[in-house]
Symmetry: D2
Subunit: 296 residues, 4 copies
Amino acid sequence: MEVGLIGLGKMGTGIAKSLLRAGHRVTAFNRTRARAEALRADGATVAGSVAEACRDEAVLTMVADDAALEAVVAGEGGVLGSLRRGGIHVSLSTTSTALSDRLAAEHSKAGQEFVAAPVFGRPEAAEAAKLAVVVAGPATSVQRCKPLFEAMGPKLFVVGERSSMANVVKLSGNFLIATVLESLAETLAFARKSGVDPGLLLEFLTTTMFTAPVYKTYGELIVQGKHEPAGFALPLGLKDVRLVLQAAEAASVPMPIASVLRDRFVTAMARGNQDKDWSVIGRVAAEDAGLPPVKN
Amino acid sequence: MEVGLIGLGKMGTGIAKSLLRAGHRVTAFNRTRARAEALRADGATVAGSVAEACRDEAVLTMVADDAALEAVVAGEGGVLGSLRRGGIHVSLSTTSTALSDRLAAEHSKAGQEFVAAPVFGRPEAAEAAKLAVVVAGPATSVQRCKPLFEAMGPKLFVVGERSSMANVVKLSGNFLIATVLESLAETLAFARKSGVDPGLLLEFLTTTMFTAPVYKTYGELIVQGKHEPAGFALPLGLKDVRLVLQAAEAASVPMPIASVLRDRFVTAMARGNQDKDWSVIGRVAAEDAGLPPVKN
Amino acid sequence: MEVGLIGLGKMGTGIAKSLLRAGHRVTAFNRTRARAEALRADGATVAGSVAEACRDEAVLTMVADDAALEAVVAGEGGVLGSLRRGGIHVSLSTTSTALSDRLAAEHSKAGQEFVAAPVFGRPEAAEAAKLAVVVAGPATSVQRCKPLFEAMGPKLFVVGERSSMANVVKLSGNFLIATVLESLAETLAFARKSGVDPGLLLEFLTTTMFTAPVYKTYGELIVQGKHEPAGFALPLGLKDVRLVLQAAEAASVPMPIASVLRDRFVTAMARGNQDKDWSVIGRVAAEDAGLPPVKN
Amino acid sequence: MEVGLIGLGKMGTGIAKSLLRAGHRVTAFNRTRARAEALRADGATVAGSVAEACRDEAVLTMVADDAALEAVVAGEGGVLGSLRRGGIHVSLSTTSTALSDRLAAEHSKAGQEFVAAPVFGRPEAAEAAKLAVVVAGPATSVQRCKPLFEAMGPKLFVVGERSSMANVVKLSGNFLIATVLESLAETLAFARKSGVDPGLLLEFLTTTMFTAPVYKTYGELIVQGKHEPAGFALPLGLKDVRLVLQAAEAASVPMPIASVLRDRFVTAMARGNQDKDWSVIGRVAAEDAGLPPVKN
């Protein structure tokens, strides 16, 4: 397929490479042009503007948050104004459900279609075509873009026709991961304070009942007190919890663990951990138990 | 080894069979004698009293809770009064850390040793010698009893010399499982309310990031609204959360997710779910979101 | 003083009367003109547009929420475009701190000044000039508008120069009231379930330690199960808790009780209490304890 | 009346003086005899043992907690073994509801009666006969002891015949006070972080909506950061919250604010505030918001 791609952070760049490797023709745009130029070697065409990246039948956006997505979509030369009638905007970003609903309505009004397709996976997985992709939007658009999704990773979950449903799934996944983090943080503080070796405890847990990699990965960061460099920065974790709570509130669903997570992340922010990985809540939980930081 | 075994519920019976199969000689006692008699076919000797089950160098106890364990240990003809000097009491039950500490002191005073060895696994795993055993107590006693633990399952975690440490690990594990339950309960209510198919969501989650069996097992019970018969009854879940909170409070460790779990389990009790599986909190979370029960 | 007043709900109308009674000249505007006409008898001049209400040195706005205030302020013929240079916009509404900060900046850019002056008190208090007024904004503007505030009630709290500080105070007050509600809800459910007469308990509490009227007023609504008609509707309570949490998050302040309130209000919404008074959380707490509704 | 009184801490001593002043004849016992001797000047008779203090028709106990009360009641020479048939044991302590129920049963079995009569008020109020007394127990016993209660203070609340009901009321009251503390702690941290003067805010709140003295007293301790000497020590606050949660759990009543309080008090303990007044949670909340301690 011929497709535009706007937003070349680590994730966007990785996805671009996977798309190109799979034979798609990608016209890439990034505010800082150098990042787009770097993709030429992989076969990408460089767009000089958002509008230029919107000339094909579909354009993918992969940006930081709601504000960034709105900035790219709205206004003169934005996606909304530049995409052809019948064109498809596929948003890969983790955004609010409310924004998805709004963009679906606006694109529809402009005779275009909007598909939300947030992804699970880290930059390396993006580049290695190993993302899990969650998709929601009009069935025909989803069908047309399927080759793109398949180029991103082996796991595709088509949720339904309302685009915000894909955001619900993405936010649910991130909520569950954050819960794993917090439950490990509490457990490991409890263990340390009780004289139990946290490393051995983690090894036991992750080789018996909690074999999912997320337990091992984050458990080790907490056990080792290793929260830099940030694989996923604390403010992003707080943002995602906020989005979960907003979406759940809009649907009248109380989520008490999400509230605990929110309070925890806010506390972690207040204690100056803005630049740390979100696993730093392990340290905050330990502090709340009166424990000294882990030496590493 | 020659060993007594007191308490022949489903777990105790399964463990007895595994011990016998591994060549140990088991003298079994149960308040309702029929359950002991039933083990004769497997090679067990039947004891007519607690005291009779305490004649070997070690006695295992597998009873319901703190009160049951205290009842078996104390008083005339109890474990404490019947076990030889140098004998070992191995407690397999999920009890409070405080009781472990107390029993360790009392057995020590009587010239005996106390080992806490709670297990993870369901009755079928007990019978199939597939339990994970967590052990804490005096090193020499742990060493002497190793053949017993190895007969129970392939996974042995020796935590340390203070017996209550094993209870810390057992309670930590149950806390993490309960957290999985609650986080799934919230997520699936959020998904249902947002129009996302909860079964498909669960399938996606458990085949990508949350591959640990506990997510699949409990997630399906929630998705199907299947909370009877109780694999692990709600009041036992509440008991374990209570024990976690008590132990953590004694160690001055705040555990906010455990507090959420406690409130949730209490609510579930108040709504008449005493006989249900603890996964029934999935239904309670759905009710709090204004959802009708899942039909099954 | 000569002053415009935009927004003639119950609160706005009451305030208008108090201002007129104190000798101020009020030009009143309301979207539904009839409400403005009704004030003619009290001496008000009726404005046909927002712009017409902005011709004096100051204009007061008293509208429902952020969105309503933004709608009145922005765009052609809005407050921002209509007020003279040097004019003062006094916002009496309960809004977010973020909006206050933004309006302060925008008015400043337009050579105008913005004062936030949210009020505590019900419509009867507004009409009887018994409101408590919390004010923040540029000192000179606050000073100039003092006669207006004094006409509204006997209690004036000038917080500081940053207008959003007044919103912080207003939101803090509402947070404390909501906390009183929730703590009474939990207490009275606990009492009922324990066989203690909730009415007698409340009488005891409010005549000993908890003499503040808020305990008596809301306690009685809960004891009597009387949540209609809504003095302050549930969705407004939820809105205020949301605003507190947003403002506190922006300032990196965890507020765990506010999180509990949020979950409670969301649950109350999910159970169909949108039209009830926010004291309906007393009934929701009772339901969570397995109690039947209070008959009234 | 002729009455025994066991336990002469600050509260017990104050109550003894009020009883004596009202013309009752008091036989006082305290483990450290000097405290009893000190009451001779006020007209008390000094008992040499618990049993000696149990010779009249009623005996009052005022001790620290469940364990202390059990120690005084049970065993040879304890209240249970020493009190005449038909005698009344009035417990003034803040204890668990479970212990009240148990003592009621045991005294009943011994042909005696048990009345729970916990009090609200500080030592000065005890001495000045200004306590509020909450009473539950058999109606005839309550009636007979009325002169004693009236000598303690002007406010008497007879809850019912089941003695533990009085404990429910006492625990409810302490829960509400603790909630006031926590809600002020959160509010004042939010205010400080937002640049609002906490002292002025408190003054505003306590002269408008929150006029109950508990807001002013505890608010000022938090504003001034003055948590020593302890009027009511942190571990006692934690104990009371624990008792509320236990009693509520036994009655299947979820109390999410009590859970928040518990986590907060545990955190405060973990940070080394064992000797501080329970208002120290104001400082803990401020720390969680990244604020430095208040200078005082």
